[in-house]
Amino acid sequence: MQLKIFLAFFRVGMLGYGGGPASIPLVHREAVEHYKWVSAEEFGDILALGNTLPGPIVTKLAGYIGYAKGGILGAINGVFAVMMPTILLMISLFAVLSAFRDTPWVNGITNGVLPVVTVMMAVLTWSFIKKSKSDFGWKIVLPALVAGGVIIGYLNVHPAIIIVLLLAAALLQKDKTTEKENESDTGKEGK
């Protein structure tokens, strides 16, 4: 079992490009279709659960499914298999680069890569803005982005402080109508 857990998440780690969220279908293929460790429905539950919590998603999936199938060792195994190979690749690539640190072509690599990373970050930024817009609408999102940009960018307030305040607001906010809707929904499910 431990070997299967390792192989499943090793493949996820080595084949998933574009960060954790892009690897979710690969986890689905291994855990649902190939090894049948969880049903498609359970997988949906686990994914939804993982999304309610912060931090990287694929390691949560690997750890959770590893734990369900192989206990604590399975959890460590799953997380290790999904991330270790690429960490080692990353460290060795940088070891090669730093050996040539002062040559002009390594400097050139940085110059060539920076604009591309700028584009990637811009695309990522836009995807977060778009999702926020569908949650709140432009009328709230635009002023919030400007205000937040000033607070973090110019007043140098640590973003963690703002996030913690917002998390507290999200939990403390009383939203009667949606709260009731939700209660009746879960009530129906219960019956």
């Binding site: 960490i87 460290i91 920076l114 604009p115 990637m120 973003p159 939700n182």
Partner: protein, 176 residues
């Protein structure tokens, strides 16, 4: 003491980064560049570039590499542990509670409320990377590379790893 700093630096992105691994990028940047000064913005941008060119989850790749640079093998272990463990342990321990409340508006609001902050942080990094690009490659080359790589990534859907490899090749030959 270094290990404690590494732990704190990666614990914050691990427990505050709603929206998966990529949401952790700006939080890691804040700690590693702004707060602890372990890297310059230029070095950090290389880390993001190489991390994007390699497969696998992005937050743990960055944690593993930066932890290793700052504190050796044990530093890497500490950084990865701080990134992964808190939310994973919460998930395993609180599974029944979370399943019960996962449709609650409060839980849904958590991600919703944090998302704009992540967007701001990502936006700030984007501008800083842009500034560094202009300094490093010059205006003309920067504009050229941005337009071409945008078309490749978003219009022609060329694999990001390939785009980065091409940029590495172009930079090494023409921008050195």
């Amino acid at each position: 003491m270094t290990y404690l700093y590494i732990f704190v630096a990666f614990l914050l992105p691990g427990i505050l980064g709603y929206g998966g691994g990529p949401a952790a990028i700006p939080l890691v940047q804040y700690e590693v560049v702004n707060r602890y000064g372990w890297m310059t913005m230029g070095e950090f941008s290389e880390v993001v570039a190489i991390a994007n060119a390699l497969p696998g989850p992005i937050a743990t790749k960055m944690a593993g590499y930066i932890g290793y640079e700052v504190g050796g093998v044990f530093g890497a272990v500490v950084a990865v542990f701080a990134t992964v463990a808190p939310s994973l342990i919460l998930m395993i321990v609180l599974v029944s509670l979370l399943l019960k409340y996962r449709d609650s508006p409060k839980i849904k609001r958590l991600t919703m409320y944090v998302r704009p902050v992540i967007a701001i942080l990502l936006g700030i990094i984007t501008f800083q990377f842009l500034g560094n690009s202009l300094d490093g490659a010059g205006t003309l080359q920067t504009v050229l590379l941005i337009v071409v790589s945008f078309l490749m990534l978003e219009r022609w859907k060329i694999h990001p790893a390939l785009v980065i490899v091409l940029a590495i090749g172009y930079g090494a030959v023409f921008l050195g």
